[in-house]
């Protein structure tokens, strides 16, 4: 079906090609939307190119995505969104066990291994924030200085204190709920009197039960002792606004995105469906920022347009144009190729798509690092049954975690990690509660009140602790392109090689041992089991583990201090192409133990300042109406 355009802000491919924009942004996710909002707010003319359709700017359309999710047999991250062969996306269901030497090319990603990665991303309006969970953790000061503190990886070209003001702005833009007092660990520093825009999500009953038993438990590691503490997890989800925010001016939660007025989404209702889609739009996604950007009247949106090639002037290295393939109908490969011109170009696809587009354009970077240093978090799931019902499936997916092992001298020997405490039972590990229902009905012939009782007994006692383990940059983990693998529009698909080193595996082994101890202390029955037949199975020192991906793709255009050892500088500006910014988690020099979104948001707000300055210097002065929070 041909999709209709909304003529208030959507441009036709013809119009987009005929306008000289100040800035052209490829991708409408968190990075692209924030940069578009910031720059249009300062009077600049911006084009946002999105590969997917412009769906979900009304509540009714959003509900279509919601119903697609409800009706889907597989509740994976991309289940709410229609398959689109013109802008295909990876699905975790495509990840299968690899056989040595044989790539898995069944899905959009071509996986070479050795580790089968079930990470995904989402190519729709708002990008991967359309399936993210919403955890908004700052990185730790130590995470920016791995080389100087622990002799590992490389230091970032900027430190925590450089990024701190941008973290504050990012927490405003994303609408983060959290309590600063709970973030007093591992040297995390906040500005004096700073509070998050909203109070933390209420602790779940499960969090309290776990805290009762585990708070204060001591773990010794490498000569240091860590006293564990269950802490609230800051997240971009609407909660109770903090009246003390912004010097007492408070914060007004931003609700559902809608072209007509729909009062919805200003508070989380605890539906436990954050990933992939919040039924009431209480979770932040980049449509909110994009919508504000469109509201300036200076942002054009070109949807159903897949960026296909970046053109560079060989003499100056400057990007001259980006080609895109515009299709009218997602069901047909028919398309026209257009060209967008702008003073500054921003690639804000994501770590994989940015690298893919650069490599497809023959731009490997003078460092040769485009596509290399691919990172993601390795997740080690552990699960158990608590002795009493603890109320699984209430509240947001995670309201608390254990953060105490996110840094320490042990990082010379093995990776850091955190545990997320899951309110959604064993869902991630076993497919619960759907699997439990199937088991009880089909295999145990339970029905009626007995079924209801059994479900409560079984599901409400479930606890899952997800160990999120740092994976350091490694040049052999990478995204490449290969002319043998192309999508329907002829664009090369991402070819992914990924493995985890002993540094990460040692942490996995430690996390697993620790989880046994924690479950023992909680009186919980440990049901964790890893099977060699599962994708992600690894063996380390005689024991097997299954590692899952975290969808935190990063590192494919790492930032650094020299063109020889990095792709972009601290502003995310390409060393080789001075008017090109590679934005997003791909710029991260390492990812520590924080979900990447808040940090990439902070980096992009910082880049927006740089781009605005570039263009102010290059052209007539523009009105400064910068957004962003004080506090």
């Amino acid at each position: 079906m041909t999709e209709e355009r909304n003529d208030r802000f959507e441009v036709s491919p013809e119009a987009a090609s005929s306008i000289a924009y100040d800035v052209a942004v490829v991708g409408s996710g968190v990075s692209g939307a924030l940069i578009a909002k910031e720059l249009s707010g300062r009077g600049l003319r911006v084009l946002v190119i999105e590969a997917g359709p412009s769906h979900d700017l009304t509540v009714a359309e959003y509900e279509t995505s919601l119903r697609r999710f409800y009706g889907a047999a597989s509740k994976d991250n991309n289940a709410p969104y229609a398959a689109n062969a013109n802008a295909p996306m990876p699905r975790s269901t495509d990840t299968t066990k690899l056989r040595p030497g044989e790539p898995n090319a069944d899905g959009y990603l071509v996986q070479l291994g050795p580790l089968e990665l079930d990470s995904t991303y989402t190519r729709v309006l708002g990008g991967t924030s359309r399936h993210w969970e919403g955890k908004a953790l700052r990185m730790l000061p130590d995470d920016f200085a791995l080389r100087s503190r622990f002799g590992r990886a490389a230091d970032w070209p900027l430190g925590y204190d450089d990024l701190e003001p941008y973290y504050r702005r990012a927490e405003f833009e994303l609408g983060v709920a959290g309590e600063v007092e709970e973030q007093d660990f591992a040297g995390l520093r906040f500005a004096p009197d700073y509070v998050y825009p909203m109070h933390g999500m209420p602790r779940s009953h499960l969090d309290r039960v776990i805290a009762d038993d585990l708070d204060g438990l001591e773990v010794a590691r490498d000569g240091e002792t860590f006293a564990l503490s269950v802490r609230g997890t800051p997240q971009a989800r609407n909660g109770v606004p903090n009246a003390a925010y912004d010097g007492g001016r408070g914060y007004r939660p931003v609700g559902a995105v809608s072209l007509h007025q729909a009062e919805l989404g200003e508070r989380c209702q605890g539906n436990t469906n954050c990933t992939p889609i919040c039924p009431v739009q209480a979770k932040y996604d980049a449509r909110r920022t994009l919508f504000q950007a469109l509201g300036t009247g200076r942002v054009d949106l070109l949807t159903q347009a897949v960026a296909s090639e970046v053109h560079v002037d060989p003499a100056s290295g400057r990007v001259t144009a980006i080609d895109y393939q515009a299709y009218a109908d997602p069901a047909s490969a028919e398309h026209v190729t257009g060209t967008v011109r702008a003073d500054v170009f921003v690639l804000a696809g994501n770590a994989v798509e940015n690298a893919r587009l650069m490599l497809a354009s023959g731009l490997t970077g003078s460092s040769g690092l485009v596509g290399r240093n691919l990172m993601d978090h390795a997740y080690l799931l552990t699960w158990a049954l608590m002795p009493e019902p603890v109320g699984a499936l209430r509240g947001p997916l995670c309201t608390s975690g254990i953060e105490d092992l996110r840094t320490g001298a042990f990082r010379r020997q093995h990776a850091a990690f955190r545990f997320g405490i899951h309110n959604d039972g064993w869902g991630w590990a076993t497919g619960s509660p759907y699997g439990d229902l199937e088991e009880l009905v089909d295999r145990r012939n339970t029905f009626g009140p007995a079924l209801r009782r059994a479900l409560v007994q079984q599901i409400s006692r479930q606890v899952l602790m997800a160990g999120m383990i740092e994976v350091l940059p490694d040049e052999s983990n990478r995204v490449t392109v290969d002319p043998r693998y192309r999508d329907r529009l002829g664009n090369p698909r991402p070819v992914v090689s990924f493995g985890v080193p002993p540094y990460t595996l040692e942490a996995a082994a430690f996390a697993r041992r620790l989880s046994r101890r924690l479950y023992q202390r909680l009186g919980a029955e440990d049901h964790t089991a890893y099977h060699p037949a599962e994708p992600g199975w690894v063996s380390y020192q005689g024991e097997g583990y299954v590692l899952r991906g975290g969808n935190h793709w990063a590192g494919t255009h790492v930032m650094g201090t020299s063109p020889r050892a990095s792709v972009v500088d601290a502003d995310q500006r390409s060393w080789d192409h001075p008017n090109l910014f590679l934005a997003g988690a791909g710029s991260m020099a390492s990812i520590g133990t924080s979900n990447t979104t808040l940090t990439l948001a902070a980096l992009c707000l910082r880049s927006a300042d740089t781009i605005a300055k570039d263009l102010e210097t290059a052209a007539a002065p523009v009105t400064a109406t910068a957004g962003g929070a004080g506090a």
Binding site: V59, A243, R252, L259, H260, A262, E263, E266
Partner: protein, 349 residues
């Protein structure tokens, strides 16, 4: 000009109690229509009804804040607080009936009447002589011993504002001597449209009244209010006219995106159902009684929240989910073999 202006604090309390009752009285009809929509259908209508119902809850809470500010004590548990439906609301020379009915053109007609903009001239407060009706809401009445009624809901609120101004001139800031800890603040309450306003003086009291009046009827009949929010009247009208309003539109000619309404995708629930409609001892009857019991409990919880324990509003949230679930259970039950009519919650408290 009303023959019975508000001249003392007791009179003010009485009017504000009536305002709370009035704001609440619209909620069961809106919820009934809302919950009668079959799940997965009528997204536009669902959003409109939901937004309006949520804002009526905001108005109720704002009225409670004003009453608390002037030393009153909101009580949603007094006998007769929930009207027996159909109830009557003032509407110019005549009253109109507000009932509990399925989402339908008749229901929307009634809702349009409830929210119809008052005449633009904001000075006069007109009243009218009407015969008494047993289910006439207190908000319509000017005084206990009178058969004089307000001409419209807008004029009723103007009378309250008038009284606040008069009494503040007389008593000074002392009029607002209520315990500020009884105010519901944004911390405890949110609504999609409009902030909750803590009331501590005449300015905040008038701001609260302005929000109530304009969210319902618009600013002197304008489509969008001073917060650029679309008035209830026009929200409902979109369903009839088949398009959303957007900035710049004139009343009656919305030019935004189309609005699809499927009047058939609705549970055919019985209009103004009563517990006595369900056979004694039946599961249905028990379910209807359970709903009413829970609804009464919910009103008691709100009363506690308005009487000094604002944090109890958090508990009320769980209750609202349960009430919705119970309402859905009733509405899915056919009352006859042919399934021509379904059960519904009765709101008999």
């Amino acid at each position: 000009m009303s023959l019975h202006p508000i001249t003392d604090v007791a009179g003010l309390h009485r009017h504000l109690e009536a305002a709370i009752q009035l704001e609440h009285a619209t909620i069961p009809p809106y919820l009934t229509a809302l919950y009668s929509i079959r799940p997965g259908t009528n997204s536009a209508a669902l959003q409109v009804l939901r937004a309006v119902a949520v804002e009526e809850m905001l108005h109720l809470t704002l009225s409670a804040n004003i009453l608390n500010a002037v030393g009153g004590s909101p009580d949603l548990t007094v006998p007769g607080f929930v009207p027996a439906f159909p109830a009557y609301l003032p509407d110019g020379e005549t009253d109109f009936e507000v009932g509990l009915r399925r989402f339908s053109t008749e229901a929307i007609d009634t809702f349009l009447k409830i929210e119809r903009p008052a005449p633009a001239d904001g000075e006069s407060i007109r009243t009218v002589e009407r015969p008494p009706r047993p289910t006439m809401l207190g908000a319509g009445k000017v005084a206990d011993d009178s058969e004089e009624h307000f001409y419209s809901i807008g004029e009723f609120y103007r009378a309250i504002e008038d009284g606040l101004i008069r009494l503040e001139a007389e008593h000074g800031p002392e009029l607002f001597a209520g315990d500020p800890r009884r105010q519901i603040t944004p911390e405890f309450y949110y609504s999609g449209g409009g902030e909750i306003i803590p009331v501590t003086d005449l300015t905040s009291a008038r701001a609260a009244i302005r929000l109530i009046a304009e969210q319902g009827e618009g600013d002197g009949g304008a489509i969008f209010d001073y917060e650029d929010e679309i008035a209830h009247y026009y929200r409902f009208q979109q369903l009839v006219l088949g398009r959303y309003y957007q900035a710049g539109d004139v009343a009656g000619s919305p030019s935004g995106l189309p609005v699809d309404v499927d009047w058939g995708a609705v549970y055919p629930i019985k209009t103004n159902a009563r517990v006595s409609d369900y056979p004694e001892g039946s599961e249905l009857r028990r379910a209807a009684e359970a709903f009413n019991r829970d609804y009464a409990g919910f009103l008691a919880l709100l009363t506690g929240a308005f009487q000094g324990e604002p944090a109890r509003l958090n508990d009320a949230m769980g209750d609202m989910f349960r009430l919705k679930d119970l309402a859905g259970q009733l509405m899915r039950q056919p009352l006859d073999a042919a399934g021509m009519e379904h059960a519904a919650p009765t709101f008999e408290v």
